[in-house]
């Protein structure tokens, strides 16, 4: 059997090359049709009836008037759900349609299908729901009180976790410096350009077909199957194209409602959430309150970290339990910390729903650790970058959880890159320059870490390969392209391993009928999952090709050698048979033309006590440097330059890599400076682009990306994940730059002008609490 070339590092034709994005032209020219653009014949429009209260008991639901409206085809309530009335991949605690209680304004009470969107909207207003309002729980700290009104029967604390290694109290007693602060972070919205949307219908066999942009067709299939009480095989989910996801489309959004309506009406049904609806009902980043006490010895070595985290998950758990794990795992940064004491709570409130969001709990705690480390450096008179280098994890080190880190570690090298970047080298010069006398400039540095994949949780991925009658390849990978360049990277890996032109590879992605289960496009793992699955399938396809070539030519397989889209002879050096000839032979003889293979994702078998998925097998790393200017009259912040050095292993496609990093930095700017969903007593106040401010092109600084390419042995061609690491240090680097400019510490993100101005006025950095 021919071995794959996944371990090869040189003479690669496609890997490491800036191959043009397969999905690029369609998206930039507007030719790509998203599901929210599509219209099917005889299609109905759907609308969700949402709760009128953030917290209320439902006494009665009356759909009579809505059903009587001409043009209304179906009005469904909880009574129409044949299976489990719940969604949530890991913790199914969110009703598909509420029957006795609503827990936030986004809760669904009924869904309507009508001949027109306008009719569906009118009908939604005609559904009469008799509510008994309940006290609203909006403060996560008060929600934890035993006498707080209960949002769920089991209480408001969804998860309480503690992890202890070593003896922090003893270490605090021996410390030269201790810094303790409390940090707050905002409820960031994903604000993808395409809100939650899709179309559901039945095929000619009566099976359900869902066209819904999402992050995993198979997880959607499972949730729909569970709610409708039918076999997964009866549901086909097509999850691509996706108009942005960032974690916000990992859970069920419109899928189950569309499946229910398609089953009921037997017609195509389309649902597109409005921007406001997306704001009210969609996922958010978990706001966190992090109290961190960090100690170091006289040389700046971190000797202890005590962390207390309260994460507001809103009305339902979603992926909050594992977000909490990632927050705990990242709370000590990419550093050696021998003594840790982490206590974390995931708390229900009536504040929307929080779930997966790029970084998955890491940016929040990174802000705390990186700020404390800056303070320690200052107190000890140590350089801010030197203290990070001193504590940075190195190959072979034991991590904060007592585990030996198995993957490649490039954090030290990224810090060296940061040390040599122009912003850092010119930091003193930058400080004496500004655009106006009342503006001050400063430079901040931060380092970050995050595991890719699901850590100690079991995970797997498979891919298929089929040779077409013309000798080209259809490669099935179910991880959706969500803007990260995954499909192009898959094609590069397939072309490299199959010895063919990249134009001869078609990636059948994100379709549960066309591709086996490759898992989710999440956890910065789509490249590693899909890439390794392709690498598992390729030897089987090559074996098929060689065996067929042997049959055609009559030569033994050990005389045959793979060349560019053909098989040659070792002895005479001539081309023997082309892939097209092999394909024709296979198709003519009715032979199998498709192979499927997979792999179990390497993991640490036993999680750390108190955790779900800590530790990960391998981690991504990054160092960041920001140059900011603070307007001391308004508190306004302008990020002028930003440097990022990620260690995401070997780079498969430099163009996609740069795009991922730049996108992460800009999304991080929003987390750092402007993005915060305001919720007042359970009512969202900022649910569209006019009130919820995301960075625009005028806010984007000059960006420099300078990667460190360590070789990760469990990744395809040495690659790791990339999607999340870039965002994690952004807020921290900017906050530290604000301090460098003004002497005012930032303890709350986003660092809005109001907060910075208040800090400047008070002179002590304190800011109004939200």
């Amino acid at each position: 059997m021919t071995e794959p070339i996944a371990k090869r590092k040189e003479n690669l034709k496609w890997i490491g090359k800036p191959v043009t994005r397969k999905d690029g032209v369609g998206k930039v020219t507007g030719e790509t049709k998203f599901f929210s653009d599509m219209i099917f014949p005889n299609m109905l429009w759907a609308k969700t009836v949402r709760s009128k209260y953030p917290h209320a008991r439902i006494r009665k639901i009356d759909t009579t008037k809505a059903e009587a409206l001409p043009g209304v085809v179906a009005v469904l309530t909880y009574k129409d759900i044949p299976g489990l009335n719940a969604s949530g991949i890991i913790v199914p605690d969110q009703p598909v349609l509420c029957h006795d209680k609503v827990r936030y304004l986004g809760d669904s009470v009924a869904v309507i299908a009508a001949e027109s969107l306008e009719t569906a909207e009118v009908a939604a207003d005609l559904v009469e729901v008799d509510y008994e309002p309940l006290p609203v729980v909006s403060d996560p700290t008060k929600a934890m009180d035993v006498d707080s009104p209960r949002i769920h029967e089991k209480g408001n604390i969804q998860r309480h976790a503690t992890i202890r290694v070593g003896d922090v109290e003893r270490a605090f007693g021996e410390a030269s410096v201790i810094v303790e602060n409390t940090f707050r972070t905002g409820r960031q919205m994903h604000m993808f350009l395409e809100p939650e949307a899709g179309i559901g219908m039945l095929d000619e066999h009566g099976n359900i077909v869902l066209y819904v942009g999402g992050q995993s067709p198979y997880r959607d299939q499972m949730q729909v199957s569970r709610a409708l009480g039918i076999r997964p095989e009866q549901i086909r989910v097509i999850s691509t194209p996706v108009g942005g996801a960032f974690g916000g489309k990992e859970e069920n959004t419109v899928q189950i409602h569309l499946a229910l309506l398609a089953m009921k009406t037997k017609r195509p049904v389309k649902m597109v959430w409005t921007r406001e609806e997306s704001g009210v009902a969609g996922m958010k980043r978990h706001p966190m309150i992090v109290t961190m006490k960090t100690a170091a010895n006289e040389t700046g070595e971190i000797i202890a970290n005590k962390v207390h985290i309260i994460a507001d998950t809103g009305a339902y758990a979603s992926l909050g339990p594992t977000v909490l794990d990632v927050a705990m795992e990242n709370s000590c940064g990419p550093y050696r910390v021998p003594n840790i004491d982490i206590e974390a709570y995931l708390v229900y409130t009536n504040n929307g729903v929080a779930g997966a969001f790029r970084g998955f709990g890491a940016p929040q705690v990174n802000f705390a650790m990186e700020t404390n480390l800056d303070s320690i450096a200052e107190k000890l008179g140590v350089d801010r970058l030197e203290i990070r280098k001193k504590n940075a994890l190195r190959e072979g080190d034991i991590g904060p959880f007592g585990n030996k880190i198995l993957g490649s570690i490039g954090i030290y090298e990224t810090l060296l890159k940061a040390e040599n970047c122009e912003i850092w080298k010119n930091r003193e010069k930058s400080k004496v320059t500004s655009s106006a006398p009342w503006c001050k400039r400063g430079v901040g540095v931060a380092a970050a870490v995050k595991g890719f994949g699901f850590g100690a949780l079991p995970d797997f991925a498979a891919a298929s390969m089929q040779i077409t009658p013309t000798g080209k390849f259809v490669v099935g990978v179910s991880c959706p392209e969500i803007g990260q360049g995954a499909v192009t990277a898959y094609a590069q890996i397939a072309a490299e391993t199959l010895h063919c032109d990249i134009g001869d590879v078609y990636i059948a992605s994100a379709d549960s009928q066309l591709a086996p289960d490759t898992g989710t496009s999440s956890a910065s793992m789509a490249l590693v999952r899909g890439g390794n699955a392709i690498l598992a399938a390729a030897p089987r396809m090559l074996e098929l090709i060689l065996e067929t070539a042997a049959k055609i030519t009559g030569k033994p397989t050990d005389d045959l050698v793979l060349k560019e889209s053909c098989v040659g002879s070792r002895r005479d050096g001539k081309k023997s048979v082309t892939y097209a000839e092999i394909a024709q032979y296979l198709h003519k003889t009715g032979s199998e033309t498709r192979v499927v293979a997979g792999f179990n994702v390497p993991r640490v078998e036993k999680p750390v006590e108190g955790s779900i998925e800590i530790p990960h097998w391998s981690y991504m790393y990054a160092s960041a440097v920001a140059l900011v200017e603070v307007n001391t009259l308004t508190g306004g912040i302008k990020v002028l330059k930003f440097f990022l050095s990620p260690d995401s292993g070997k780079i498969i496609n430099p163009q996609s890599y740069t795009g991922q990093c730049e996108g992460a930095i800009v999304q991080g700017l929003g987390f750092a400076l402007t993005e915060e969903t305001q919720i007042d007593n359970g009512v969202i106040k900022t649910n569209n682009f006019t009130t919820y401010i995301i960075p625009t092109i005028s806010d984007v600084p000059e960006i420099e990306i300078d990667p460190v390419e360590t070789y990760e042995k469990i990744g395809p061609f040495g690659a790791k994940g990339l999607g999340e690491i870039g965002i994690i240090p952004v807020g921290s680097a900017i906050a530290n730059a604000i301090y460098d400019a003004t002497g005012i510490r930032v303890f709350t993100l986003p660092a809005t002008p109001e907060r910075v101005y208040t800090g400047l006025k008070r002179g002590d950095g304190s800011q109004d609490e939200r």
């Binding site: 499972m222 569970r226 594992t322 997966a356 086996p516 999440s522 956890a523 293979a597 792999f599 036993k606």
Partner: protein
Amino acid sequence: MLVKVKIFGAPSLALESRELTLELGEDATAGDLLSSVTVKDKDYLYIVREGIRLTPSSRLRDGDEILLIPPIAGG
């Protein structure tokens, strides 16, 4: 045939896998295996062999190592 099975619990409950070896008939399927084990919410467990999800009708092979995994997602 002898089949090795690793059963994983709901992630929020028990992470350590339970391992057992089952003796099944020569024509046993993944569905037969599932019927032979006591596990919660088995209808939604993923039956995985060498990284590939099996359907209930998939034929098992002597010496297979099968993972029973609850649906997991994350970041």
